[in-house]
């Protein structure tokens, strides 16, 4: 279980085992976990983000319990969300909770209750019909993994995404949550969610209407047919690309409307350029608000929420929506019906980049981007800044999410037949592209307009680890996510400052024991994807002239390492959620070509006492994609570098390692060669400790 940042400050804080468990056990029948015996409560306030305050009500132990088994170390992944039809299990690491060992308990999966509801009524009613009886074993987490459900739990939350459940270990087997029992879901987030496939239609029938308010005000609008019963809904605006048509986005319109959004796709003035397109995004958004009483005899009247707007733009329209946000954020355009804060998410599909770096800056709005690695129009290649979309993503300082879809062409994102504007192997067409688009748009829209917690797993976990079941198995996606700046995460190194190789941006030492390290602007400078040792940032189409996005690249053919010291003031990771970083393979490098498959490497922590965790192969949480094997733009095969963000749960480092002190972390070490790929070339960036609440 993790914490939604919207509730992080208000909710009574969850206790992060093992650091503060001792306080709870004064109320309970259980002994404190092993680690808790050596960790003082005084450490609670020194971690990152929100300070943890123990909540001893009922004397329950509020810990992570629900998740999914892994076939290799760390053997279990405590997750927030599982999709309908998938197995969910409970697991306990007996080395962290030795007091569990030997105890027999009834394990309940119950409909989620808030903490107040639990305090008012601790009755346990199992959603499966009956609890599971289990006796905890000594040894490993594998020996204490219990299947809770094999895909039968109800996921139907109507137009919401996910049915929330809590998991309770009822040690005294009295059928009530009480002192000494363990629970996942007591404070803050539920224990876990079971969600319907977000790539499938939602519960509402959809009405589509086409009308015009005049010049460049043609609109194709989709809304739940029973909108009169639904109150105020988010508005999703779609701005098409050049040579496209506003009626080519039925797939998005019907999908999001079936889940409770109003979706309006409009005529977009793209041919003059993205500046003109940005104007039509702005005027059409204002138009539908102003005229909601007239459109379709007022069917939309009172149902459009000016505080929950999403802008989606494709190609020149994708640049246009960023420009539009930039204009309202800087006051260059004053909307009539909404404030800049009303725009909750801006998403660009394969955007162009005609305008200046300053003009196409999304600032702090929540930002998202889709690109197709097979795009033959906005190619993403290094030959021309106009066709490099990704620098726009890099400029964002809000929450940001990125999906690169291998095999998807420029026209695969809309639903008009004809030229796909695609090239390269293993093309996936609209049949492969649309499920990625629909499922991820639903997750993003649900999270940013409705605060859906369950949706977060779709963009915070790697695609490799978790994605909609409706996406065909042959689809390969690399995805990134980064929390907004200033939300409490500790940035170990983002390579933006302290640019010497041996110093991190946080000011601590870095031990660089890898081959050919280079830290610098993530810009491919020679206009070619051919590997050249003189262009170490080959394949990094992440910056153009005027940008500042930096990163680190290097390679290895023998076991190597990269060690980041942790500032003493930041050493307490005990109340943090995860270690996060993004990494990619370096396209067309001889090592990459030789490895020729998805890549992983190892990560470990070292505490101030010299204890070192098991070196974790992050492949359990996703792998770095082999760059798309598209040729052209130089010799060889492999298109632009594809970053993936790995979030490794903090508990994964201490599995079966009760002596490791997460309150005293001294070093973060990446190991290359063993485990994982024996050779490779990678880029790495944005090494962060994710604070609770993010």
């Amino acid at each position: 279980m993790h914490r939604d940042r919207s509730t992080a400050l208000a909710a009574v804080q969850r206790v992060a085992a093992p650091s503060a468990i001792a306080a709870l056990f004064a109320f309970g029948a259980l002994a404190a976990p092993a680690a808790a015996q050596t960790v003082g409560a005084s450490s609670l306030a020194s971690g990152h983000g929100t300070a943890v305050t123990p909540e001893p009500r009922l004397g329950v132990l509020d810990i992570e319990l629900a998740g999914e088994s892994l076939s290799a170390y760390p053997h279990f992944h405590y997750v927030r969300t599982v999709e309908i039809g998938k197995r969910v299990s409970l697991a306990i690491d007996p080395t962290r909770y030795p007091s569990f060992v030997g105890q027999n308990a009834d394990i309940y999966v119950v409909a989620h209750k808030t903490m107040a509801q639990w305090i008012a009524d601790g009755t346990l009613i199992d959603a499966r019909g009956a609890p599971t009886n289990f006796t905890f074993q000594p040894g490993t987490i594998q020996a204490n993994t219990v299947m809770l459900d094999n895909g039968t739990l109800n996921a139907d939350a109507g137009a919401d995404l996910g049915v929330p459940y809590d998991v309770v270990v009822d040690f005294d087997q009295d059928g009530f949550l009480g002192a000494g029992d363990a629970i996942d879901g007591f404070a803050g987030e539920p224990g876990f969610f079971v969600v319907e496939d977000p790539g499938l239609p939602g519960p509402y029938a959809v009405t589509e209407i086409q009308y015009s308010g005049g010049s460049f005000l043609g609109q194709d609008t989709y809304y739940p047919t029973n909108i009169d019963q639904l109150g105020v809904l988010p508005l999703v605006v779609i701005s098409h690309g050049n040579g496209h048509d506003y009626r080519w986005y039925d797939h998005i319109g019907y999908h999001l409307a079936s889940w409770g959004c109003v979706v309006m796709s409009h005529q977009n003035n793209t041919v003059p350029g993205p500046e003109s397109a940005s104007v039509t995004t702005l005027t059409n958004t204002d138009y539908i608000f102003t005229n909601q009483g007239s459109i379709q005899n007022g069917a939309l009247a009172g149902h459009l929420d000016p505080t929950r707007i999403v802008w989606i733009g494709h190609s020149r329209g994708g640049e246009g929506v960023v420009r539009a946000y930039n204009k309202i954020a800087t006051g260059a355009y004053i909307p009539v019906n909404y404030l800049p804060s009303g725009v909750k998410l801006v998403s660009s599909i394969a955007p162009t980049e005609f305008l200046s770096v300053a003009q196409i800056n999304p600032f702090s709005v929540n930002y998202h981007m889709f690109v197709g690695a097979s795009d033959s129009d906005v190619t993403g290649g290094p030959t021309n800044a106009i066709v490099q979309s990704t620098p726009i993503y890099e400029r964002s300082i809000g929450d940001k999410t990125f999906h690169s879809i291998q095999g998807a062409g420029h026209a695969d994102f809309h639903n008009q037949s004809g030229n796909c504007w695609c090239t390269g192997p293993n093309l996936i067409g609209k049949a492969g592209t649309h499920p990625v688009v629909l499922s991820n748009y639903l997750a993003l829209v649900k999270h940013y307009t409705e605060g859906s917690v369950a949706a977060r797993d779709y963009f915070e976990r790697t695609y490799d680890d978790f994605h909609s079941a409706s996406i065909p198995a042959n689809v390969i996606v690399a995805n990134e996510h980064k929390d907004a700046a200033g939300t409490g995460n500790f940035v170990v190194d983002d390579f933006q400052t302290n640019t010497a190789l041996n110093t991190s941006s946080s000011g601590a030492a870095v031990n660089v024991a890898v081959a050919n390290p280079f830290e610098g602007l993530m810009q491919d400078l020679d206009g070619s994807f051919s590997w050249s040792s003189g262009v170490p940032m080959n394949g990094m189409c992440r910056a153009i002239s005027g940008d500042t996005q930096r990163g680190l690249v290097f390679d290895w053919t023998t076991p190597s390492s990269l060690t980041f010291d942790v500032l003493t003031s930041q050493k307490d990771f005990s109340d943090d959620v995860a270690l996060s970083f993004r990494a990619c393979q370096g396209t067309r490098h001889p090592n990459t070509d030789s490895w020729n498959q998805p890549l992983t490497f190892g990560v470990e922590l070292e505490d101030v006492f010299g204890n070192v965790t098991t070196t974790l192969d992050f492949g359990a949480f996703g792998r770095l994609t082999r760059t798309y094997q598209r040729s052209g733009t130089g010799t060889g095969s492999g298109w632009a570098n594809e970053f993936s963000t790995l979030r490794i749960p903090m508990d994964a480092f201490t599995r079966h390692a009760p002596n490791f002190d997460l309150t005293q972390v001294a070093k973060i070490r990446f190991r290359f060669g063993v485990p994982g790929a024996t050779l490779g070339r990678v880029g790495i960036d944005d090494i962060e400790i994710i604070a609770k609440g993010n």
């Binding site: 040579g243 506003y246 009626r247 041919v271 350029g273 459109i295 129009d377």
Partner: protein, 223 residues
């Protein structure tokens, strides 16, 4: 009724330039525009003028297809026969279409039919009783690939000079006269919305493969 193709055959020089433009377009790689006076990439590609009708509006509109965004209440509605390869929509730079000293707004795509309906804003010449932009004098050509919204008067002058050097000339007077005969006299409309809708009917007539596209411009107006 369409203008017969004999009109087109008299523009061999333009066709040569169109071929160069076609080669550029088939490369499918947007190229950076030539800035300032450097307009060496200017190419032809307008093979004929099929229809020309002057319009006048009660309410002016902003011509967004050039940097100054001038307000306009009058101009020409033209149907051009163009090299379809030059008008394939793409997201990178596209050749800008010029008519005389003005950028032309392309209403439809013209890829299948090669027929482009365009709006060319122009002041009214009250003495002549038609838009000041004289179709007998002003050539029509595809210029350097760039964004129309970034093309200003100086850029137009540069493009015009380059086009003249390349041999682009106005259509023969008899051809223009025939196109104007096709178009007829002024169409007087209320505003830009009516102009767009009128242009959409021309698209349906001259580029029937884009009938559905034109329907997108003819949606019922919200009242």
């Amino acid at each position: 009724m369409r203008t017969s193709h004999w009109i087109l055959s008299s523009f061999a020089a333009v066709a040569v330039l169109a071929a160069a433009g076609t080669a550029w377009m088939k490369a499918k790689t947007p190229v950076a525009p030539q800035n300032g006076a450097s307009s060496a990439a200017t190419v032809g590609g307008v093979r004929g003028l099929l229809f020309a009708q002057p319009y006048v509006l009660d309410q002016g509109f902003e011509h967004t297809w050039r940097a100054e965004k001038p307000s306009s209440r009058a101009g020409w509605l033209l149907v051009l026969d163009v090299d379809p390869d030059l008008v394939v929509p793409q997201e990178g730079y596209e050749p800008v279409l010029f008519v005389g000293d003005q950028t032309a707004e392309r209403v439809n795509r013209g890829v299948g039919s090669g027929h482009l309906v365009v709006i060319v804003p122009a002041d009214l010449d009250h003495a002549r009783g038609e838009p000041a932009l004289d179709l007998f004098v002003g050539p029509m050509w595809f210029g350097t690939p760039r964004l129309p919204e970034q093309v200003d008067a100086k850029a137009i002058a540069d493009e015009f000079a380059a086009a003249r050097r390349a041999g682009v000339r106005a259509f023969a007077s008899e051809h223009v006269a025939l196109a104007k005969q096709q178009g007829g006299g002024f169409v007087a409309l209320k505003d830009r919305t009516e102009l767009e809708r009128y242009a959409a009917t021309l698209v349906q007539t001259w580029a029937p493969d884009e009938y559905e596209f034109a329907q997108g411009l003819l949606q019922p107006l919200v009242k």
